[in-house]
Structures are given as C-alpha cells and as structure tokens.
C-alpha cells in the first residue's frame, strides 16, 4: 500500500466520522437519542486512531479493494441518511446506516490484522 493510498483511506474515514457526528447532532435536533450513532462514531474514531498510529509506524495492506468497498458503503449510508428525515421507520433506517458503517469498519480492522 503506497503512502498516497494510506492518506486517501484515512482521509475518507475522517470524512465518514464527520458524517456520523453530523448525524448525531441531527438526531438531537429531531429529539431522538443519538446513543447508537455515538457508539459507532466512537468505534470509528478508535479505528482512525489505530490507522493514524499505523501510518506513523508504517503499515501495509490492499488499499484499492478496500477503498472501493468503503465508497460503496458510504453511498448506501448517505442514501439512508437522506431518507431518514421523512422516514416512518426511523429506527430501522438508522440501524441500516450503523450496520453499513460497522461493515466498513470491519474491512479496516481486517486490514490491520
């Protein structure tokens, strides 16, 4: 994995974390409990932290496949976030978003094994 690929991956995870943080604030403004989003955001922050350390200590992996996977997950998650505003089954939609994020994080964790 090249330095540029590592940079792209970590920057993407930071972007994803920002989206989760915004989602938590949006839920608060809607009067919903953001606890589940907070929990996922905390896990993602932990992965970013590990990757940041790994990046400083030099790490390796297969970036291209992982990035494609993460981009796909993000597209699906963003679609669900857009639907969230008017959704009847908000809890189920939220669970789908968090499930997608979990899948993305698992890809990153697998990379570090």
């Amino acid at each position: 994995m090249t330095h540029e690929e590592k940079l792209e991956l970590v920057n993407f995870l930071i972007f994803l974390r920002g989206k989760l943080q915004s989602l938590a604030i949006r839920l608060i403004l809607m009067g919903e409990d953001p606890a589940k989003v907070d929990e996922t955001e905390k896990s993602l922050a932990g992965e970013i932290r590990k990757l940041r350390i790994n990046m400083m200590l030099d790490w390796q992996g297969d970036a291209a496949e992982l990035m494609a996977n993460l981009r796909q997950i993000n597209e699906q998650a963003q679609r669900h976030v857009r639907e969230l505003k008017n959704a009847q089954q908000r809890t189920a939609k939220l669970a789908s978003i968090l499930g997608l994020i979990d899948r993305g994080m698992k890809s990153v964790t697998d990379l570090l094994v």
């Binding site: 943080q21 922050a45 940041r52 350390i53 200590l57």
Partner: protein, 313 residues
C-alpha cells in the same frame, strides 16, 4: 609553424587543461543551508503543536471517561542495551498513546532535517576544500554517513535506499574520491551525485507533514463535537454564544495549523528544485535560484505568526 603560432597554440592547449568551470555563485550554499535550518525548526514546531493538542485531548478524555489500560503507559526494555518501547514487547503498538508516536515521528523528522543541514554544511566545506580543511571534511562526511545509517534504520521500507545516490556511500573513505571528481568534473557533478538522496529525503519530509495533517483533523474531530453538541442543546443565549465563540476559535486555529503544514509540505516539495537550481547555477556561473524554496519557508514563518496569534487569543 612560426613562434607566434606555437605560443597561441600553447595558450589554447593550456586553457583546455585548467578547469574552465565557473566558480560557485556567492552565498548560494549558505542561503541554501540557512533555509534548510529554518525548515527544520518549523517542521519540528508543527509536530510539537500536534503533540500538545493530542496530549491535551488525551488528558481531557482520561478525566472524562477514565478509560485507560495502565500497562499501555509503561516502558519496556525488550532488546538492545539502550532500546526501549511503550507497551508489551512484541505487542500491538497500535495500543500506545498517540502523543508518544508523534514524539517519535518528531525525533525521526529532526534527524532527517539535521541530515539535510549537515549535507548543506558539507557542500560549503567541500566547496572551499584545501589541504588544511581535509580533516574537517572527513569528519563531516563521517557524520553524514552515520546519520544516513540511522535514518535508513528508522525509516525502514519507507526509504528507498537504492535511490539515495552518493548518500549511500558517503564516509571518510570517499572524500578523496569526491575531491578528485570535483577537480575533474566540477562541483556541480558532485552535487548531482547527492541529488537523488535530497529528492528522497524531501519526499519523506513532505509525507511527515501529510501524516501530521491527518492528526490535526483527528484532534479537531475529537474536540469540536462536544462544542457543537453543547450549542445544539444549550437554551441559555449567553452560554450558547460562549460555545459558538469557542468553536469559531477552534476552527480558526485548526485552519491555520493546516495552512502551516501545507506551507511546510510545499517547502519540502520545492527542495529538489532548489538543489537542482544549485547545480544549474554552478554550471552557468549565475546565482542559484532558491527563490521558490525561500518563498515557501517565508510563507511558513508568516503562517506560524498568524497561528501563534490565534493561539494566544
């Protein structure tokens, strides 16, 4: 052939034997060295700011959540006589505190910057070399050789040792060889031999700044959310305003920090061009064109002045 023709021919032949290469333009090497010293100071300051911010967030998180593995804070002595590391020997290093890794990066970067400065100093000494300065020159070459060995050890596979040119062989033994090369082909040819190494070390420097920018964005990610959440939940107008002001100050500080890192990154990227500028200056006899590098280093200083002013606020 008459005697006038013989004298004329002799002058032409003699001219061919004496080096016709132009002398080094005045102050070019010193300006190069001074710029590298500035770059080293500023890049080290940048990682210190990242370290401080991470340590501050680490303390706040610890006070708030109290969640820490105490063993991750213990030093272990796993190998050589003077070696140490945080956490278990052979354990997962991803568990160690981030500020410790930043400190290590800062130390590695300082070593890299010292090497570049030592290289510029070596060029200054080498340019003025004579029989009296030979011992100094050998000592400088030995110092650079030791630094290169340490850097190769520290950066491991990130450093492409095949691409560092004369840096891979420099030491006491090659000084004579380099002097002969200078006499035969000129100073530019000697600098050219080191040029691939300068390019490689500059690449590592610019990568360190990219990694530090990741760190700054992460620290911002940790810190801004509690302010945004406070703004969303706070009903008292006065308290909300204070939180907004804090967030705006944090935004200003973060953007300035990223701007500083961007300037340092650009300076490292300009370094190979500056080195090539020295070579072409030597070949043409004109003053070296270091404006790009000097300009970037001046931009760093300006960005830092702004950053420190924002920090003081």
């Amino acid at each position: 052939m008459n005697w006038k023709s013989v004298i004329f021919l002799s002058i032409i032949l003699l001219g061919g034997c004496v080096s016709t290469r132009p002398p080094l333009p005045p102050d070019s090497l010193e300006q190069y060295r001074d710029t590298l010293v500035d770059l080293g100071i500023k890049s080290s300051q940048a990682l210190t700011a990242e370290y401080d911010w991470n340590y501050r967030n680490f303390r706040e998180r610890l006070e708030r959540e109290g969640d820490i593995d105490p063993l991750s804070l213990v030093l272990r002595f796993c190998g050589g006589a003077f070696d140490w590391q945080w956490g278990e020997c052979g354990g997962d290093q991803a568990g160690m505190p981030v500020f410790n890794v930043i400190a290590k990066s800062r130390s590695d970067l300082a070593m890299l910057n010292d090497l570049l400065t030592a290289y510029a100093n070596f060029l200054i000494e080498f340019n003025a070399a004579n029989s009296d300065t030979r011992a100094n020159l050998e000592a400088s070459a030995e110092k650079i050789g030791t630094s290169v060995a340490s850097i190769s050890g520290r950066f491991g596979k990130q450093l492409n040792a095949d691409k560092i040119g004369a840096f891979s062989t420099i030491g006491v033994n090659v000084v004579e060889q380099l002097l002969a090369r200078k006499q035969r082909d000129g100073m530019a040819a000697v600098i050219q031999e080191f040029h691939p190494g300068v390019r490689e070390f500059a690449r590592l420097g610019s990568q360190a700044m990219e990694t530090s920018a990741i760190g700054i964005k992460t620290e911002y990610g940790d810190e801004h959310q509690k302010l945004v959440r406070g703004i969303a939940l706070e009903s008292d107008g006065g308290k909300k305003l204070k939180l907004v002001e804090k967030l705006l100050a944090l935004n200003e500080q973060t953007s300035m920090h990223l701007e500083s890192l961007g300037s340092i990154h650009a300076a490292y990227r300009a370094l190979p061009n500056a080195d090539a500028g020295l070579i072409s200056a030597l070949e043409s006899g004109r003053r070296a064109n270091l404006e790009e590098l000097v300009g970037h280093v001046e931009a760093i200083s300006a960005a830092y002045r702004q950053f420190q002013a924002a920090d003081a606020k």
